[in-house]
C-alpha cells in the first residue's frame, strides 16, 4: 500500500514512524483512518464517540509501533486493536457485548420466519442508508457480531475470541442479526411505499 501524496509505502512509513517522524505517522493515519473510523461508528452509532475511539485506537497503535515486527499485516494489527478499544469502551459502559441471554430469548422475541406470507422480497434493492439505520437498531450483542463478521470480515473463531463467547454462539447471533435486519428492512420499505 503506497500513500499517493508522499509516494512512500506503508512499510517505509512504519519505519519512519518508529524514528518519530510526524509525517510518517500522518501517512499511516490517512491510509487507515476510514476503516478504523467506520468500524467504530458501526459499533457505537455515534460520530463523536466514534471519533474518540478512533483517536484512542490510533494512539495505542502509535505508542506500540516500535514493537511491530511485521509478522502479521499492519492493517490486521490495527484492526484488532480498534476492536479491542471499542469492546473495552462498551464494557466500561456496562453495555452487553455479546449476551448469552440473547440466545435464550423467548419465542415471542425471536425473529420468526414467516411461512406462507407474502413478503416484500429484498433481493436487488437494499438501500445502503436504510441498511445503516437498520444496523443501528440492532440490539448491542447482535450488532457487535454482525459488524465484526459481515461488515468487517472477521471469522467466527476470531469473533469468539474477541468478545468472549463460543463459535456456535457467534454464528447464532449473526444469523439472528441478519433475520432481524431483514425484518427491519422490509418494514422500512413498507413504510416508504405507504408514504410514497
Amino acid at each position: 500500500m503506497t500513500d499517493p501524496k508522499h509516494g512512500i509505502t506503508e512499510a517505509e512509513a512504519i519505519e519512519q514512524a518508529k524514528q518519530g517522524h510526524e509525517a510518517a505517522f500522518e501517512v499511516l493515519y490517512h491510509l487507515h483512518k476510514r476503516r478504523v473510523y467506520s468500524l467504530c461508528l458501526r459499533m457505537v452509532s455515534n460520530p463523536a464517540q466514534a471519533e474518540d475511539l478512533a483517536q484512542e485506537a490510533f494512539l495505542q497503535l502509535f505508542r506500540k509501533i516500535s514493537t511491530f515486527r511485521g509478522e502479521s499485516a499492519f492493517s490486521t494489527w490495527l484492526h484488532r486493536m480498534t476492536v479491542n478499544v471499542v469492546l473495552m469502551q462498551l464494557r466500561k459502559k456496562g453495555l452487553p457485548v455479546v449476551s448469552l441471554e440473547e440466545t435464550l430469548e423467548s419465542e415471542d422475541e425471536a425473529p420468526r420466519k414467516e411461512f406462507g406470507t407474502k413478503d416484500l422480497k429484498l433481493t436487488g434493492s437494499v438501500d445502503r442508508l436504510q441498511l445503516q439505520r437498520a444496523i443501528d437498531r440492532l440490539p448491542p450483542g447482535y450488532k457487535t457480531v454482525f459488524v465484526l463478521h459481515d461488515v468487517e470480515g472477521f471469522e467466527h473463531n476470531e469473533i469468539a475470541q474477541m468478545v468472549g463467547c463460543s463459535i456456535g454462539n457467534s454464528k447464532s447471533q449473526l444469523h439472528k442479526a441478519r433475520l432481524k435486519l431483514r425484518e427491519y428492512l422490509k418494514f422500512m420499505r413498507a413504510e416508504k411505499a405507504k408514504t410514497g
Binding site: 501524496k5 508522499h6 512512500i8 517505509e12 524514528q19 518519530g20 517522524h21 510526524e22 509525517a23 510518517a24 505517522f25 500522518e26 493515519y29 490517512h30 483512518k33 476510514r34 473510523y37 467506520s38 468500524l39 458501526r42 452509532s45 455515534n46 460520530p47 463523536a48 466514534a50 471519533e51 478512533a54 483517536q55 490510533f58 494512539l59 502509535f62 505508542r63 420466519k113 411461512f115 406462507g116 406470507t117 429484498l122 433481493t123 436487488g124 437494499v126 445502503r128 442508508l129 441498511l131 445503516q132 439505520r133 444496523i135 443501528d136 454482525f146 463478521h149 459481515d150 461488515v151 468487517e152 470480515g153 454464528k171 449473526l174 444469523h175 441478519r178 433475520l179 435486519l181 431483514r182
Partner: protein, 279 residues
Amino acid sequence: MTCSEVERVLPELLDGGSNGAFPPDFDAHLKCCPTCSDLVSDLKLIASEARQLAASEEPASRVWVRIAAELRAEGLIRDSAIPDSAIHDSTIREPEFAPARPVVVPVPVPASPRWRWRALWLAPVAAAVLVASAYVISHKPAPQVATQQAPAPAVTSPAPVTPATTPALVPAPAPQQMAKNSAKPKGVSGNGNEIGRVAEAAAEPEPSAEDQQFLSVVSTLGPSTRATYESQLRAVNADIQETQAYVDRNPGDADARQHLMDAYQQKALLYQIALDRIQ
C-alpha cells in the same frame, strides 16, 4: 428437506460451510419453496451489502490534529524540524523519508530572547480562545424544538479535509471575539444543514491577523516546522468554520456544539504547543 430443517442448517451453510455450494436436497427445496428461496436470497444480499459499509466513513480532520498533539506531548514525535539557525553543521540535514540511517541531531539552540518575548502572546491567546469558545457555546439559546434535519450523522460523509485540499486560513478576529464571530463563507446558501454540503460550498477564507502572526513566530523554528503548523492550522480552521456553520443552522445539536468546542480547543492547543517549543 423441510422448511424447518432449512432454517436449522441455514446459519452454517450461509457462512461458506461448503465453499458456497449447498447440499443437493437443500438446493432442491429452495427450487420448490419460494419462501425459503427468498429468505436465503435476502440473507445473502444483506451480508454482501454489509461489506460495502466497511471503510465508508471519513473522520473529521480534528481527529488527526488531536492525535498529533498527543503524540507530541508524549514525545513520540521526534520531528526532523530543527531550526535552521540551530544547525551547526550545515551539511547535516535530516531527510523526511530517507531510508533509516544514523542521523546526527545537533543540539537545538533556543529561540533568541527577542523571539521568545514575542511568542509570549501565544499563551493568553490560547487561553482566550478556550474561554471565548466556552462562553459562546454555553450561551447559545436553547432551542424550543429540535431542529436537526440532517440524517443520522453516521450516514453523512463530510468532504475530506486534508492539508492538501483545505482552504486557506480562516479569518480569526481578536481572541476575545474569535468564538463569537462566525465567518460565513461566501456562497453558502441558507438551505441545507449537512456538514458535507457546507464544506463543499465554502469559499477560501482569508487568514486572520493572529494566525499570520502565529505563523511568523513559528517560522523561527524552521521552514518544515512552519509548514507542519500551517497545515494543522489550516485543518483546524477549516473544521471550525465548517462546524460553526453547521451549529448556526442547527443550534439544538449538542454534539455539534461540543465538536465546535473541541475544534477551538485544538486551535488553542496548537498555539500552546508552539509556545512550549519556543520557550
